[in-house]
């Protein structure tokens, strides 16, 4: 369970990127955070996986106060998460395989297991035939799929994705969402920042509406 209590974030005075957000996401939820550009979706996701710290407020993940975890132990939290960054954050001088394998290498899995899992992840995003290419030779959409494969390769308990279908055609976007749904059905909590209304309407189970850093509405489909 992810609980956010009165989260405030200020990058520069006097503007608040996030203003007093409190929300609860249950284990196994498939939820969307939506809103126009600049509404604070990315900031909120970055706070959840502690890439940045909130100016005020508390975050609990499975009862553990994330902000109290010392820097040198934060890796334990991140290993339970899969993250799709809006800007992909790929290593351009390393192959697609190496990019996807990195969370597994860090965990010290055997080479054979790494190869198997990387191949499966790439096959899920329909990119297994480009395993040995370098990301700079791939299209924008393909780079995005590499980022998705990296996020799901470690079978995370929590999957955070920031505009994961932003550069994909509707058909592929639908496929990617189906993969996320599949991971969700296996027990993972999925949180997606997106403004794609069609996808949200189709897949959204719990939806948080953001505007100017505030939650202006919440919808739960049963």
């Amino acid at each position: 369970m992810i609980e956010l209590y009165h989260i405030w974030k200020q990058y520069q005075k006097p503007h608040w990127a996030i203003s007093d957000i409190s929300l609860e996401i249950n284990t196994g939820d498939f939820c969307f955070i939506t809103g126009p550009s600049g509404s604070g979706k990315t900031t909120l996701l970055r706070i959840i996986f502690r890439e940045i710290l909130p100016t005020e407020g508390q975050i609990l993940i499975d009862g553990v106060n994330v902000l109290k975890i010392p820097d040198h132990k934060i890796y334990k939290l991140r290993r339970t998460m899969g993250i799709v960054f809006q800007d992909f954050r790929l290593m351009f001088h390393q192959s697609v395989f190496a990019n996807v394998a990195i969370p597994l290498q860090i965990s010290g899995l055997p080479d054979k297991e790494i190869r198997r899992r990387v191949f499966n992840s790439l096959r899920q995003v329909n990119l297994h035939h480009k395993m040995w290419e370098y990301p700079d030779r791939l299209s924008y959409g393909e780079q995005q799929r590499v980022a998705i494969a990296r996020a799901i390769v470690n079978r995370p308990r929590i999957l955070l994705a920031d505009e994961p279908t932003g550069n994909l055609d509707p058909e592929l976007a639908f496929e990617i969402m189906s993969i996320f749904k599949e991971i969700n059905e296996q027990g993972a909590t999925v949180i997606i920042g997106s403004h794609d209304r069609e996808l949200i309407r189709h897949f959204g189970h719990k939806i948080f509406f953001l505007q100017k850093g505030k939650i202006i509405g919440q919808e739960v489909k049963t």
Partner: protein, 299 residues
């Protein structure tokens, strides 16, 4: 699991060394130059120590005696010398033997001696010291004691030369270490900067690794391995260059130095010296990396 991670990290270090090979090659050359300077001074100092040892091996105290001294008195003086714990052996050198030694050592001066009516060389007792490291003050006290014996007219002892050679060797070594220390410090900063550039070039990669759950140690190890290899390669290269210098030096420069050739010759490093040079190189490289990576990991 640790073994697998280590394998991955070593492979990553290898990739990085290759990817930034130009920059890394320059740092290897700079490190090797720094260690070469130390190596050259060590080789010079080795030579001076060697020369000092050669001198001290031939070290003897010559007690010159009055001419025609009765054999009994010679024996008494010999016994006085042998009574000392400093002395290993004593031999009697007669006037004739002294003359023949002189003519053998300086054949060009033979004519002067033959023109003389009598043999000008006094008989002597040559005493060899037991231990080369006996202090000068103990020897001086012993010489004064023997000198007081009637029949002894003069004493010759060249230990000051040995000591001069030894102190010269110490000075050369000290200068070498001083210059070397400055250069090692310089190479330490160079390695540190090269690694910092490498870290900076891979800032994006480091950030990704951290965000997908890498520990600081996991991020740090490839850089440490790189620093270690740069330092190790630099110091090994310096030993190789020094070896070539020792081979080439006498062929091209040695002869031009004339009499100074023996003093300025390079004598190969001992295994222990080479070991410490290599250890020093590897340590400089690793420490250079540690400082720069630690600084970057705080970002």
């Amino acid at each position: 699991m640790i073994f697998r991670q280590l394998k991955y990290l070593l492979r990553a270090a290898g990739h990085n060394l290759w990817n930034f090979r130009g920059r890394n090659l320059i740092s290897i050359l700079i490190i090797s130059f720094s260690f070469l300077v130390i190596g050259v001074f060590l080789a010079l100092s080795n030579n001076l120590t060697y020369l000092g040892q050669q001198l001290s091996n031939n070290l003897a105290i010559s007690f010159f005696l009055k001419q025609n001294l009765p054999a009994k008195e010679v024996e008494e003086i010999k016994n006085t010398i042998m009574d000392s714990t400093l002395i290993e052996s004593v031999i009697y050198v007669s006037q004739e033997e002294a003359l023949s030694r002189f003519t053998a050592n300086f054949p060009e001066l033979q004519e002067i001696v033959t023109n003389l009516d009598s043999n000008p060389f006094p008989p002597s007792l040559e005493a060899r010291l037991k231990d080369k490291s006996i202090s000068l003050s103990a020897i001086t006290a012993f010489i004064d004691h023997v000198k007081r014996q009637p029949g002894v007219i003069d004493v010759q002892f060249n230990q000051d030369w040995v000591q001069k050679m030894e102190s010269l060797s110490r000075i050369v070594k000290a200068v070498g270490f001083f210059l070397g220390a400055i250069l090692i410090l310089a190479s330490f900063f160079i390695i540190s900067n090269v690694v910092r550039l490498n870290v900076f070039a891979r800032k994006n990669e480091i950030e990704i690794q951290r965000l997908v759950g890498a520990t600081n140690t996991f991020i740090r190890i490839p850089f440490l391995v790189e620093g270690f290899i740069l330092g190790l390669a630099g110091s090994l290269l310096s030993i190789l260059i020094l070896f070539l210098l020792i081979k080439i030096f006498p062929l091209y420069i040695g002869q031009a130095l004339g009499a100074a050739e023996q003093l300025l010759a390079l004598r190969p490093l001992t295994l222990k010296q080479m070991f410490w040079l290599v250890v020093g190189g590897a340590l400089t490289g690793t420490l250079g990396s540690v400082t720069s990576v630690s600084r970057f990991l705080r970002v």
